[in-house]
């Protein structure tokens, strides 16, 4: 076709037609964009059980606490409520009773896991889900490899853990959205470190006091959530001090609320040499379907991996994998410190949430 003079002429004509008819453009007012973004931040919503991710108030959220706008907040909060409907039949067949799992989790003193979220299909079209490109993961790994060279022993352990996990992600074909490392001590203290795409902050939450503090390494800044704004269904906003929501952090709270029906038991299988049994729930909500699969270690009766999937219609759009569970390993209190580190500035922040019924 390149040698086709008629075709070339036609392409030229079309090109000229497009160039001659480009729309007039007055340009963009950058200040107006920033103002609009900040206004949108003020109106965005999320469940009060979790932190909000905005530019000024960046808090890693999880599958249980997801950054969202008003529209998606309604969906996710509904899904969280539905989450209360999942796992618990009277028995778990011949091998594991869910009551045993619940009992075992209740006895856990510390838990650590890594949560990863992947975009599937059309997620990049979602208003709240700009996809993250794969090279960023390579950079994140490279950054850690550099840090490892000069790290002290304590930091070295963390970096090696992160590297080990992130290298396994490189074989994933799906688009990676985020990776978070979560550590929970007792039933009240939770620390979330953002590993990817940015790895420059962590958040400590104390479920008992309701304290949520984020630490930004790059900016050497600490932010404490002190205010909450409830956006009511009629759009009216009500500001108050941050409320204490749950007596325990997400991980324990979710298992405590597990119901006892509508659970499908899957055939047992082996993951990384560990015999696990699967328990799957599926819930429809506003045209979306959430499926969650709990792979429970047959021996310990504790979750080994948790897979969650969100379908819009029949299209899988996003999935989460929670794995690398470590139970009852000692965790230093310093990890959960909310004190202001030397050299850090500090400020107060606001969290936005929707009215609960």
């Amino acid at each position: 076709m390149p040698n086709d003079p008629v075709h070339d002429n036609e392409m030229e004509t079309l090109h000229k037609l497009f160039q001659d008819t480009r729309p007039a453009d007055m340009g963009v007012d950058v200040a107006a964009i920033i103002a609009r973004a900040e206004e949108a931040d003020a109106q965005s919503i999320q469940s009060f059980t979790h932190g909000l991710s905005s530019r000024k108030n960046s808090i890693p959220t999880s599958i249980w606490s997801h950054p969202m706008t008003i529209r998606s907040a309604a969906l996710i909060v509904a899904a969280v409520l539905v989450f209360a409907l999942f796992i618990f039949p009277a028995t778990l067949g011949d091998k594991i009773a869910l009551a045993q799992v619940k009992e075992r989790i209740d006895a856990v003193r510390t838990v650590q896991y890594v949560e990863t979220s992947f975009a599937e299909g059309t997620i990049s079209q979602s208003p709240n889900s700009f996809a993250v490109s794969e090279p960023n993961l390579a950079q994140a790994i490279e950054r850690r490899e550099q840090q490892l060279k000069t790290a002290d022993d304590k930091t070295k352990d963390d970096l090696e853990f992160e590297l080990r996990f992130m290298r396994t992600l490189q074989t994933e074909k799906a688009e990676l959205l985020y990776v978070r490392r979560v550590r929970v001590k007792g039933k009240q203290l939770e620390r979330t470190d953002q590993l990817f795409p940015l790895s420059n902050y962590h958040v400590v939450r104390d479920a008992q006091s309701g304290l949520t503090v984020s630490f930004h390494k790059d900016r050497k800044h600490k932010e404490t959530l002190t205010k909450q704004v409830v956006v009511k269904n009629n759009g009216e906003q009500k500001e108050s001090a941050v409320a204490k929501i749950s007596p325990s952090v997400d991980f324990f709270a979710q298992f405590t609320a597990l119901p006892t029906k509508n659970v499908e038991q899957l055939p047992s299988k082996v993951i990384n040499g560990v015999n696990v049994i699967g328990l799957r729930t599926s819930e429809k909500q506003a045209g979306n379907t959430w499926t969650r699969t709990y792979w429970v270690n047959e021996q310990t009766k504790l979750p080994y991996e948790i897979w969650s999937e969100l379908y819009r219609g029949t299209q899988l759009t996003q999935r989460w994998v929670i794995k690398d569970f470590v139970y009852d390993a000692p965790l230093d209190d310093d990890l959960f410190s909310t004190e202001t580190p030397a050299g850090y500035t500090s400020s107060e922040g606001t969290i936005y949430g929707m009215e609960s019924k």
Partner: protein
């Protein structure tokens, strides 16, 4: 111009100047693509602003600089197509709205300009065809690069492009013939 690592990093750090640089670099291109797809400059301006707002709100989601341009174009195309679908849904069942649109279209046809003919013709194509044509003729992109933006094989893009050109040529010719037929013949 390509976004460099430093500029994107500054945007992530909340540097408004760096953000302004990004806006200035891409604003015209974004408007052009969105306007071709939606057919309305006002809609295109809104889509463009929405995307800039999201970038400012969630800079951590920006891709690697090497992929930034393709990513941004993909955002514009996806958002514009999504916008059109929403508009179509809104129009379903709104007969009055359709009548008004038709009236506007007729009025525009009488204005006899290439821009209007092109816009009319593009509006009769599928949104994805409009996107491909805009990327090809407005942005002068190679087929392979369009494939990267739309996440489709370049062979698929090539055949879609050829089909879109064929349909566009036919539609523009019809519009011109219609215009010429309405003109008084020189005697």
């Amino acid at each position: 111009m390509m976004m460099d690592q430093n500029t994107l990093k500054r945007i992530r750090d909340g540097d408004a100047k760096a953000f302004e640089q990004l806006v200035c670099t891409y604003q015209h291109e974004m408007l052009c693509i969105a306007a071709r797809i939606t057919g309305q400059v006002a809609d295109a301006e809104e889509i463009r602003q929405l995307i800039f707002v999201r970038i400012w709100q969630s800079p951590e989601k920006l891709p690697h600089p090497d992929m930034f341009k393709a990513w941004l174009r993909r955002c514009v195309v996806n958002e514009s197509i999504s916008f059109i679908r929403q508009q179509r849904r809104k129009r379903e069942g709104l007969l009055n709205g359709d009548v008004e649109d038709q009236h506007d279209a007729n009025t525009m046809a009488e204005k006899e300009s290439d821009a209007q003919h092109l816009r009319q013709a593009l509006n009769q194509l599928e949104p994805e065809q409009r996107a491909i044509l805009s990327l090809k003729f407005d942005q002068q992109m190679a087929v392979r690069d369009i494939g990267l933006v739309l996440e489709q094989p370049h062979t698929t893009i090539q055949s879609k492009l050829e089909r879109a050109i064929k349909e566009l040529r036919s539609l523009v010719s019809n519009a011109r013939r219609s215009r010429d037929a309405q003109r008084p013949s020189p005697r």
